[in-house]
Point group: C2
Chain length 99, copies 2
């Protein structure tokens, strides 16, 4: 994974509200729309929508329109890709230290 992309994903995760949103989406899998998330957080709907947009843009979640509402779901492939890249990074940082 490119450094820029890794940094973008980490930056996207670098806000407590977005961590919460991801957890909410993972928990309520497939039946969670923007309004549901907003109910769980002390934020305005427009603010939640912006946070969701950030997560969409880096590909960590995707949108599945279902009738009148949009269901957001975590993308496992993106998450495991990130997991791998993050593992490489920490391995590099820790590994180089003890050599």
């Amino acid at each position: 994974m490119q450094d820029d992309h890794l940094a973008n994903m980490l930056r996207a995760l670098g806000h407590p509200a977005r961590l919460n949103i991801l957890r909410i989406l993972a928990e309520r899998q497939k039946n969670c729309c923007c309004a549901d998330v907003t109910q769980c957080l002390p934020l305005a709907q427009s603010t939640v929508s912006q946070h969701i947009k950030v997560l969409l843009e880096v590909g960590l979640i995707e949108c599945r329109s279902q009738g009148t509402k949009n269901c957001y779901v975590v993308r496992p492939d993106a998450l495991s890709g990130l997991q791998g890249a993050f593992g490489d990074l920490t391995g590099e940082l820790l590994g180089a230290k003890q050599e």
Copy 2:
């Protein structure tokens, strides 16, 4: 780890220059001062110093003054703590999805 702290650490990693700085520090272990890092990057010394400050503030690196120069080193304990918290997070997000 608190969500806020995790988010702060991820945000600190969420910039390509800081990822580079960490790699440089890990590679040149114990003999890397601010000027050395600056030589490796297309940034001014003051900018590099600020990036280093961000990494210091979240505890990912520490400063060991050696004579006239400051040597910065990656903190393996902080990194493995982050590794653990990140693993918990992705596990939670991925695990909840396939249950």
